[in-house]
Symmetry: C5
Subunit: 321 residues, 5 copies
């Protein structure tokens, strides 16, 4: 699907086709072409009308690509990743959006739905200023929206982390270890996306490209700051999750310790008692010390009670109870 927005003489209108004349320097027209999951026929626009470099076009139509920025002389080619909200709940996935920024135009290419582009697209024709400030600022608006969408996801990750930390000490188990591993993977994915994204936007912020005005650079520096914070937080999460995995092992060992203490206490309490009963269960003449009736039985019981109490005092001294 192609949508073409044209801004001329202060007004933005949605049009059907791109007129190559608009793309000339100082044409007085600003165009935004948004390609959503373009068909091969629609994609031909990129090479036929805009004459983008074949490698850039190839990358733009491919699904998975790492964030990067490349200057092809009079246009910039930028790949960024947005949060994929259509992906399953439990994992963190992203989707790439490609930008071609020229002096007179912005071309965006993305597969499937993009919330950020839909949002900007819908206000574009209503508010003339959106495209009226030039394609650079328009690109900033889209990029800013995309980066802002990371924030709630980061917060959700932070909450999951807090829960896992709680659980590690409450009831460490294999299922938790698995979730910790899954989380670690999500964090690594996040970092893998955010880091090159940060670097690409950083190059915009540092004004490496003449297409980016100083005013625009201030704005991209702001986006860059957000991405620095995101990558910082990803690093921080990664640190914490590693500690949590370590703590999990520690907690499992602690639990084992508790179990073994119970076993040891039980065994140590009953083994001497069982020995005493075995002793007086032998089929040999047993010393009764002149005690008749069940007195001997109660004497033995008393002895065994004394042994038990001694044992318990020993455990208390060792701080096991």
């Amino acid at each position: 699907m192609i949508k073409v927005y044209k801004h001329e003489g202060g007004a933005t209108t949605e049009v059907e086709k791109v007129d190559p004349a608009w793309l000339k320097p100082n044409s007085g027209v600003w165009v935004w072409v948004a390609l959503e999951s373009p068909t091969p026929a629609e994609a031909r626009l990129l090479s036929d009308v805009f004459h983008f470099h074949e490698l850039a076009v190839e990358d733009a139509l491919m699904q998975v690509h790492h964030p990067k920025i490349e200057s092809y002389g009079d246009y910039l080619y930028l790949i960024l990743h947005g949060i994929d909200f259509q992906a399953s709940e439990h994992c963190f996935t992203t989707k790439d959006v490609d930008f071609f920024l020229g002096a007179q135009y912005l071309v965006t290419v993305h597969a499937g739905m993009s919330r950020s582009i839909d949002k900007i697209g819908s206000v574009c024709t209503k508010d003339d200023r959106v495209l009226g400030e030039g394609p650079g600022l328009l690109m900033y608006r889209i990029v800013d929206t995309m980066v802002d969408n990371y924030r709630p996801e980061i917060e959700k990750l932070g909450e999951r982390l807090d829960e896992m930390e709680e659980e590690v000490f409450e009831k460490p188990n294999t299922a938790l270890a698995r979730r910790i591993l899954d989380f670690k993977r999500d964090i690594a994915s996040l970092r893998r996306i955010v880091l090159p994204q940060r670097d690409a936007v950083g190059r915009l912020a540092r004004r490496e490209f003449p297409l980016i005005s100083e005013q625009l650079a201030y704005r991209f520096r702001d986006v860059h700051d957000h991405l620095v914070r995101l990558s910082d937080e990803a690093m921080f999460f990664q640190d914490r999750i590693t500690s949590i995995l370590d703590a999990h092992l520690s907690a499992v060992s602690n639990q084992l310790n508790q179990v073994m203490k119970v076993l040891t206490i039980i065994a140590t309490l009953f083994m001497p008692l069982t020995f005493v009963t075995g002793l007086y269960g032998m089929n040999v003449d047993l010393p009764h010390f002149g005690l008749g009736g069940t007195t001997m039985f109660w004497v033995l019981m008393t002895v065994m009670l004394a042994i038990s109490i001694g044992m318990l005092m020993f455990f208390r001294a060792r701080r096991w109870l």
Copy 2:
């Protein structure tokens, strides 16, 4: 709440409003405007009177932001973090203070109470020199006070670390593991704040900005040294806490070892004895070797005593006792 301090002709006075004329180059007036949790109406001062960049104003009014420094031509925008003394006891939190430094003015923005700003504010009108040396030196004073406030917190962290190290070998347990994890998080938070702070102040110390005179740079170099030490110490603490977590696992395993040794000694002592009693408890004709009365009983007791002593000697040889 807004407080405005004006220094003119060698005297500092607290005034009600800022006169835009003061802000002109070489106006002969130095102003410090301190905004504490400004209302939206008060905040308008930043854009209406000072004409700060909208992104900087936005950041200044937002609560959480990473330390950074940015030059907007004739003014600097600096974000630093101070210790938050109003936060709960057990965790380490910070609060950002925003500075706008121009040739004639300093504007500070912070939410809630800031001990450093209150302190400087209270001496500002009493001692004319505080503002009388220019807004740059005033900013240095505030920044220096903020950084100095980290020192006691760092020392408290060091003490907590010493206690935990002690406890790890005294009685390792799950609660301790949890506190270690919490501590690790605190340290990570500290590093996350101190590192960008160090870099921001480092840029002031390297005189990257013409607003900072050489005399001022010496002073910021001193603050920078303090921040280098803080970040160094944070790194050192992080190293130690990681070792402590490892040692905790080791200590738990050692404890388990002790418990298992006790169990093994008890079981190994009593199992052969119980076997002997079982043997002479069988309802078959037992060999009495011609021993009558309770003699057989005492012979068996002696045999069992010998077995026990043998076992104990075996344990001693293995260095278990």
Copy 3:
């Protein structure tokens, strides 16, 4: 085996020998010489006809070498590694391909079969454009094919990783630990090859050498991006496999925990019961509390049942059941 492809006047033909006249600047002829496992006699071509530096020739004929790029004035010497598809299934091995790129020629040297070179070689005489765009683009084509061959291998590694992660929590065992270690080694091998490869191609992409035109640099930048992603993925895999090894230890400990719980429950259930039976097995006058017949037996059974139920309730309270 030597294959010589000559492109002159728009047509590519396979010829027998290299005419030194072709190698002169602007000779109007483009040559590709492909040496596959060259005999010493064939290898002499490198020094006798092309006059390559003796160290480069030595490296080219040696089997194992790290990826690198070196400029010898009017020719470039490049070593890259391709996936070795003839190696055993279970490990990841590579094979080096050497390139000598001059203004008029490309010389490739490799031992054994190379899928990438065979593929390009076979289209070379059919499609005049392959060599017709110059030796630089020809080299790009071969390099691109070689790098593309990594992709399916990487995906296979990713699948192996997923399987291992699954298995770690299903049934951790020593054989799995061994496979994890083997995998780690494979990943390390991959990184060791991809990293210098990335750097070598990066130098082509940055146009450090005058032989590389700007058009060619765009293409190598694309290959470079692929290699960046590969090295990125290798790093990511390494991270994950380290976590998996940690999780394995955690899973083994968890398993031990489960085993010990069963033992503890069994021992704790039966030890008190065995004690009671031992007590009433003693050969002393036992208290029957006036109960005749088998009543005493059933009373004791009831007592023991009560003890067992009490124990199970204790375990339930400790969440062991």
Copy 4:
């Protein structure tokens, strides 16, 4: 305490006071002022006579400071750390010495005793060449002595490390784990001091300051090499101690393994035997297979012996014995 050494006309004498005239460029006089734990009155010399920057003076009089070097135009301010030999035996502590180096003078400030300064001080008046080669070379001599004092400490640390490595496999225990942790801390302290020291001296070696002549730079390069080796060794020790902590955990687990094997062997040997005795201890009609007298007893003994031998063979097959 202040000591003033003055070199004029080839002779070094100890004098009472510093004459400001000596400090002028090309005064023909070289002075070394050594302040040991200066009183506030003595410290005033730094600002009143030498006019050092107030921040440098403040740092010099403060006790704990990180190694650094700073140029204040016509003098250098250097902080280095020497080994503190007055500190307790078991831990590694350092003490800072401050240097102010001008064209005509060297001022050293330190708290408590400094072996290096005392040593150079005592030869200073005896050997005219010591101060006669200028304050730069004098500073080199002191710095060199301070750095050389690290060597024996490093060797002691190396020996402690060897002992701990030995002990880890001999008898791993909690006290050892504690000593490992203490050692790790010492190493970290060493690195924290040596690294900035290395960087500060490195700046002298690279001739960043005009006060340092080329001849002097060679000498500081030598000191720098020593510091590089020290920091290298500290890193190496840190690596080893980390491995030792890991090995400790491994050794503790191994020990547990041994203990558990003994328990398992004992339990597995006696449980079946106890079962057999229990069987023939039942108060039911037992099968005697027509065997009279104690024959049945000996038959059972033989059966039990066979069971024991079978068990032991099973353990041998599993390589537990």
Copy 5:
């Protein structure tokens, strides 16, 4: 021992003494002076005839020193390390060789035997070209031989690593843990030597010194590549040995798991049986359910067999058997 080789007019001869005239620029003579464990008298040659810097001479005569390169104007001072083949079998040690390279001469200093220098020395007088290509190329030859000697050692280390990896899963034990630790130390030693060596040769390869011609730089670049590979392999080994130590802990835990399973199975099998025998061993009237003779015994045996089979089925369900 001093050996002096002199090359003049195309012929190399071994001479007794060095004539200072030879050392002058363009003297037409090339000299190689090899000092093996020089006596103090022999060592005086370095300062008296060659006038090397006193610090360099000091370093050259000292035994242990880190690889480095330093330019003293018209001569280079290089320290490299060769494998020490006279050291004990089980550890990896190196020995430093010092080079002084001038325009007309090469001076080498080493303690004890050096295989590389002996080898080059013995061909030096037989083949006039060895010294005939100048002292720079001679130094290259020695350095190349020294670096080549690392290769077999590296391969031996690789084999030791493979063996240890095998053994970790076959029979993890404390002795193995110790060997792993020893190996780790060897690898660290290797890295500590190879890294600065790589950097020193890298500076020769990058032609930082005018004494090194472009032709020579190509050759040193080749040596540099070898050192890069060595340091790369050392890093790779270090990674693997760390994984092996982790795997060892995992294997020990696994082993413990196996032992505990056996104990648990045995205990769980026999405890219920022992309870049953105890039950019918009580001296109370036991229920016989009207069964006479040994029938009751066989009934109980059957019950116990059923219990055992049930237990075994439970273990099978838990995948313990």
